[in-house]
Symmetry: C2
Subunit: 253 residues, 2 copies
Amino acid sequence: MTSKALDALRIVLVGTQHPGNIGSAARAMKTMGLSRLCLVTPECATDADEARAMAVGAEDLIGTALRADVLDDALADCTQVYGCTARRRHVALPEWTPREAAARAIAEVQAGGTVALLFGRERSGLSNDELQRCHAAIHIPTNPEFSSLNLAAAVQVLSYELRLAALAAAEPPPPAERGDPPATQAELEGLFEHLDRALVAIDFHKGRSPVTVLRRLRRLFLRARLNEREVRILHGILADAERMARLAAERRQ
Amino acid sequence: MTSKALDALRIVLVGTQHPGNIGSAARAMKTMGLSRLCLVTPECATDADEARAMAVGAEDLIGTALRADVLDDALADCTQVYGCTARRRHVALPEWTPREAAARAIAEVQAGGTVALLFGRERSGLSNDELQRCHAAIHIPTNPEFSSLNLAAAVQVLSYELRLAALAAAEPPPPAERGDPPATQAELEGLFEHLDRALVAIDFHKGRSPVTVLRRLRRLFLRARLNEREVRILHGILADAERMARLAAERRQ
């Protein structure tokens, strides 16, 4: 699954100015298992000796790279497009970290989509017009006093996060929890309602407001990412506590 | 705190062969806020034009770099040393991912330590003798069919993870949980014992073995990383459930 997921990811270099960066970007991609390179209106020779010299074994990615004269041609069959930006731009786009973007990209390709990651020119990045083709912007959290990330270094960071996300998605769940699907939101809400009733039944509040404690318990159980079986166990405990409260109440009558 | 943490991290390049890689490594470090470069027995001129050309604004890191003729001199004041390896070696060292290594390095510098990350030669990496000075090996999870990561690219990936770890460590805890310290292991064990007694009291098991369900609940609450206040709330709920069970039992007598 890992390599299949990575095959549906496209690295699109727009207007690249230095052939060495094309070679280094190809090498960065290949070390992380990515293979689909696309070169849009490069401002340098893409098969220059310098490009091949920097590829060091990843020349095949340059050879098979898609070439496009218009950005839209490079993106035509993509279901999601993310643009890598060094600075915050005046384009209203959701802004993701590389890690968030990688998780979303892998989820998209697992659902059958194709995702393009756009990297702009060395000097000026992506234009606003190019960013307007993107579903989201990716911002690598650099040192605010020196954010001059090399183009191939940016491709390296994103390719690395994409590989980790693909490996994580391909991993089987931990053995103990295998076969226990995560609880749905409706199941969790059902549990919280039961919890609310049970706390009243066992007289937990003793006159205090239940709001704060219920909010805390809700946060705790959401954080734990309960699975279906755990929700059933907790319902069972609450039901028995309620049963005891009923028996105790019958006694008082 | 972020920059202070990053200042106690040293990137040590051992036997570097290409001056361009020293420049690119310096640039990679500086984009992520790292500044302490150390060059041990480089096999190239470290102030060559090529090094400065690739640094593109990070020449200062080359200028202020420590230079050492012997690796031990570069590591003398370090409290932890991690070695970056491309391949698995015949050296018995714990092996960490970049993410694990970054989290441990930041924890170490927050505790007042100094951490060195070692990067070996372009062609042959670190020698076994050099790795034997390390507390752990870092393995970047590359494509097994093409693991030829450029030296500066490896420095970029590690520097990026170190920056993220430093930023995460500097972040205040979420507002709602602020002021509630995490529960200690002893507090959690006390909660699990109470849970055990309460489940018996409310007759949750009904003749079945309690082992599996207790194991599941233990896993759930460990995963949730309870804080002290949450432990107190859960104790309170269990105490009230037990109280109801006692009242119900008195009725049956």
